[in-house]
């Protein structure tokens, strides 16, 4: 068995890995790599876990992480948004109720000047029921995201 150099820091791990993977052939089967690691005195499983922890941490801190993480988060957010659709079935029959709910949520979300909001929502009065309901759904979603954030 070749003499193992103890790995104590992440930097040492990276150096050891770089050296190891530079010397190893790309087409070498995984079993042969494991065997070689054992020869060096490393437990492949333990080393794998160590690399996983390290790579997760590096990815979490990476500026490039959004490319991977955003898609999962978007899918989860869409699921959450869709859940609010089922919370408004009674509103279909009552336009003024929907409008009131929207105004209440706007006040709750509060930081925006509630007088300003309708002014920019140009077709507020003439908006279709469907538009108002989806608007209400989005506001409920944002209000809930805000609450979760504050929690």
């Amino acid at each position: 068995m070749k003499k193992r150099r103890p790995i104590e820091t992440e930097a040492q791990l990276l150096v050891a890995l770089e050296r190891f993977f530079t010397n190893i052939s790309q087409s070498e089967p995984i079993e042969a790599i494991d065997e070689e690691l054992r020869e060096y005195g490393y437990d492949p499983k333990a080393l794998g876990s160590q690399i996983e922890v390290l790579s997760k941490r590096a990815l979490a801190n990476s500026q490039l992480n959004w490319r991977i993480q955003a898609r999962q988060e978007i899918d989860a957010a869409k699921e959450k948004l869709n859940r609010f659709e089922y919370m408004t079935p009674d509103h279909h029959s009552d336009r003024s109720f929907t409008l009131n709910s929207i105004q209440q949520l706007l006040r709750k979300l509060g930081s925006q000047d509630s007088q300003l909001v309708p002014a920019h929502f140009r077709n507020f009065d003439s908006a279709s029921d469907q538009d108002l309901l989806s608007l209400l759904q989005e506001l409920e979603f944002l209000a809930s995201s805000h609450e979760n954030h504050e929690d």
Binding site: R67, A77, K78, Q112, S134, L135
Partner: protein
């Protein structure tokens, strides 16, 4: 660079975008800013942005079929979020607000800014500008760039003018009439110097290729030499001078998009002599 373009550039920096394929991840880019993008039924508008407490939802009308138009609309609403969230809680953008072309009505400065942001985000200076100098001007090349960046031909052509180093103009005509035009910096210098205009709202000159396309004649779309007077009002240019025209007919819109290139000196030298 305008404030809107700077903001788009800053966003690209912040996300560490170093290759243009990342610009295709527009939903993900919006998400990093706290914006969820979704499609939905919208009546009377193309896009809607609802903002609260630093987060937002962009809804894009599912009636928009064109992927490139959708991308521009998302980038436009993201522009409102980045630039105007202090002023607006909720924004509803009609199709005329989200202009990939030129022109605006009074009081639409915020919409114009959002359009500038969208253009600078989808066609960033760092990736797009060097390509504009790589080949001679032509609509074929602009279409190639539009394809690479997944942006509309019109939006790409207008952005192209910012970085093209030749005297080039883009003209949009609808139903045989000129609707708007925009020139590159060099084109505008020549235009001012030689005191001519492109007559917006005028019928297309019969000798232009664009006019021929409206007559239903199936012409090959290629750069062709035409009289400068086919496009320009009278001015201090030689009446026999020629320029290059490249027009695309867009049957869906009953419109043409034209690239004009003053590729040689068109100044009336006799007039110069007379003045001396």
């Amino acid at each position: 660079m305008s404030f809107a373009a700077q903001s788009a550039d800053h966003l690209i920096d912040r996300l560490g975008i170093t290759k243009r394929s990342d610009l295709l991840l527009l939903e993900e880019i919006a998400w990093t800013r706290g914006i969820l993008v979704k499609e939905g039924l919208l009546e009377g508008s193309e896009a809607r942005l609802v903002m609260a407490k630093g987060r937002g939802v962009i809804t894009i009308s599912s009636s928009i079929q064109d992927l490139r138009r959708k991308r521009f609309s998302i980038a436009h609403e993201l522009g409102h979020f980045e630039l105007h969230r202090a002023q607006r809680g909720l924004s509803l953008c009609l199709s005329e607000d989200i202009r990939e072309g030129v022109g605006r009505t009074a009081g639409q400065d915020l919409e114009q800014e959002a359009n500038e942001f969208a253009s600078a985000l989808l066609l960033p200076y760092r990736f797009f500008a060097p390509l504009c100098k790589k080949q001679e001007p032509s609509l074929d090349y602009v279409a190639h760039l539009a394809n690479d960046f997944s942006t509309s031909l019109t939006a790409t052509a207008l952005r192209y003018l910012n970085f093209c180093e030749e005297p080039v103009a883009i003209v949009y005509s609808h139903d045989n009439r000129i609707q708007w035009f925009q020139g590159s910096k060099d084109f505008e210098t020549i235009r001012e110097d030689l005191e001519f205009f492109i007559d917006v709202r005028a019928r297309l000159d019969r000798s232009s290729l664009a006019a021929t396309m409206f007559q239903g004649r199936n012409l090959p779309s290629k750069m062709s030499r035409v009289l400068a007077s086919s496009w320009f009002t009278s001015g201090r240019y030689d009446q026999n001078a020629t320029i290059l025209e490249h027009s695309y007919f867009m049957p869906t819109y009953n419109a043409t998009l034209t690239l004009l290139w003053i590729d040689e000196d068109i100044e009336n030298e006799d007039e110069e002599l007379t003045e001396d």
